[in-house]
Amino acid sequence: MNSAVMKKTMYFFVLPALLFYCLFWIVPILKLFQYSVTDYNGYVQKFSYVGLDNFTKLFHEEILGLSIRNTLIYTFITVVAGNLIALALAFLLNANIRAKGIYRSAFYIPTLFSAIVVGFIWSYVYMPDDGLIASIMNKIGITGLDTNFLGSYSKALYSIIAVDIWKNIGTSTIIFLAGLQTVPQDLIEAGKIDGAGRWKLVRFIKIPLLATSITINVTLSVINGLKAFDYPFIMTNGGPGTSTNTLIFTIYKMAFTDQQFGKASALGIISFALIIVITSVFVFTLNRREVAA
């Protein structure tokens, strides 16, 4: 491109955004590194440097492994189940039928609700005895099952994961649907002439052509899962016990309830490393496959 038109002075356009971004995002993130080696409590601006004490303490406490485990389970299930369900829905809604638009909207509506409203609604759905699931089970005569979803150590995490999937499925479905609509009809016809059955059409033509949508949806849901905070915060307060403590919820609790901001920052640094590693692995693998496809 000729340099008279695309001058370096264009970089002035970045400055306003860069200013906001550095002041309110990058500098605070760098501050975390500083606080992670202090005993700062988050309130009184007086602290001393304690070396790697916070990290050593964290590595000796159960909460670190537990939060990582919960976050990984949360991410794995939302990514796999969420995208598989959305993909299946997209194939279903891509059929040549009437009222497609209405069906699509019906799946999209939950994504418009604030997490706080979603939390309220699903707290009702999961209520023992009087909640939606419990009363439906009563009505159809299934009794004796434990319906205390959010109060159970083994079920609470999976219950809030289901809520997250429910809320986000509409967005992924719409992105998959848009991808499917770009699959050229003549490619499908050519496949049919070559004798490909329905499954082969899906496997060898549609899925590879969906690569971009898959990359976008998987990446967004990986990031969303690793950052999970809303439903532990609104629905379970991390409980029962620590069974729904995700990394970000644990950091928040450490910083604000326990007033151990130094330690919370150290955990923040660990989470940060984890998020960066996992996200880059996904982005690189998916991008490579996309090019190959």
């Binding site: 491109m1 695309m6 001058k7 370096k8 264009m10 970089y11 356009f13 970045v14 306003p16 955004a17 860069l18 906001f20 971004y21 309110f24 995002w25 990058i26 605070p28 993130i29 501050k31 975390l32 988050g42 829905l89 279903l92 809604l93 059929a95 638009g101 069906y103 019906a106 799946f107 999209y108 939950p110 418009l112 609700f113 604030s114 997490a115 706080i116 409203v117 309220f120 609604i121 699903w122 009702y124 209520m127 939606l132 009363s135 719409i174 848009a178 770009t182 971009t212 976008i216 949806n217 990031i223 905070f229 970000i248 950091i251 928040y252 901001f261 923040g268 940060f272 998020i275 960066i276």
Partner: protein, 279 residues
């Protein structure tokens, strides 16, 4: 024979989809039916739509100061989105146009902010805001809404300018003597309208629905936007006697976006997919 075959197949598809739709929105239907009961109606929520009254809505409307909360939400969202569009579109322009190490770095630099959750950096953010002498007010969350929206919006704008706004158009304008600013605002900006729609919708929805930054920065009840007004109902979900009013509040809180979605549906669907089909 074959037509009746496809007809049967289509009916099955419809039946399957309708069953899934019902399963998906069942909680919302029960919430809607309960919200249309009087606050004292304690019959089984499954016995749906057994009463139609706005009594619970009236009660929720007053309790959450609906008109004030709605207005606060509108102000916060409109101001934030306006700045996001301006800043992100401007930032994306050189990143998309100049091919150098600096622009490549800026691209990754902005995008990498996407993976950091706000909850983690909240305390240093509050310190920064206080350190800059910015007072805590109704408008403080806007700073964070703008900042947190920049990574994704800049990413969308950059991709679109690279793929869909040919440089030749600008060359012509350059020969006609148009400066950098005029070229950007009069030629490039109108051409990237599809992304602007996408940014307004995707960022507008999360900003409208955000409770976290609002909850942290807004202390006066009169300044609270809708999601924060909902926090006043915290605890009510444990008590079946409060459900009808709580559910009416939930519907009221979601209503503005539902109306916006139903009337601007094609923009919502288009906006979600602009950056995703041809990234």
């Amino acid at each position: 024979m074959s037509t009746s075959g496809t007809l049967a197949k289509k009916s099955v598809t419809h039946a399957v989809i309708i069953a899934l739709v019902l399963l998906n929105i069942a909680p919302l239907l029960i919430v809607l039916s309960s919200s249309l009961r009087s606050p004292r109606n304690m019959t089984d929520p499954l016995d749906w739509f057994n009463e139609l009254t706005l009594a619970s809505f009236r009660s929720a409307y007053t309790r959450m100061h609906f008109p004030t909360a709605l207005w606060n939400s509108v102000v916060l969202t409109v101001l934030s989105v306006l700045f996001v569009v301006l800043l992100a579109a401007m930032a994306a322009y050189p990143i998309a146009r100049i091919r150098s190490k600096v622009s490549k770095f800026l691209y990754i630099f902005f995008l990498s902010g996407l993976v950091v959750p706000g909850q983690m950096v909240l305390i240093p953010i509050i310190q920064m805001i206080k350190g800059l002498g910015i007072p805590m007010s109704q408008y403080t969350p806007i700073l964070m809404f703008i900042t947190c929206s920049l990574p994704f919006s800049t990413f969308l704008y950059t991709g679109f300018i690279r793929s869909s706004v040919p440089e030749e158009i600008e060359e012509a304008a350059h020969i006609d003597g148009a400066g950098l600013f005029r070229r950007f605002w009069q030629i490039v900006f109108p051409l990237i309208l599809p992304v602007t729609v996408s940014v307004v919708i995707t960022q507008g929805v999360w900003i409208w629905n955000d409770y976290f930054f609002n909850m942290v920065f807004i202390t006066k009840a009169a300044d609270a936007p809708l999601p924060v007004a909902m926090l006043g109902f915290l605890g009510d979900q444990q008590n079946p006697a409060q459900w009808n009013v709580l559910f009416a509040a939930c519907i009221l809180c979601a209503l503005p976006l539902l109306v916006a979605f139903l009337s601007l549906q094609k923009y919502f669907v288009g906006g979600l997919t602009v950056g995703s089909v041809k990234g």
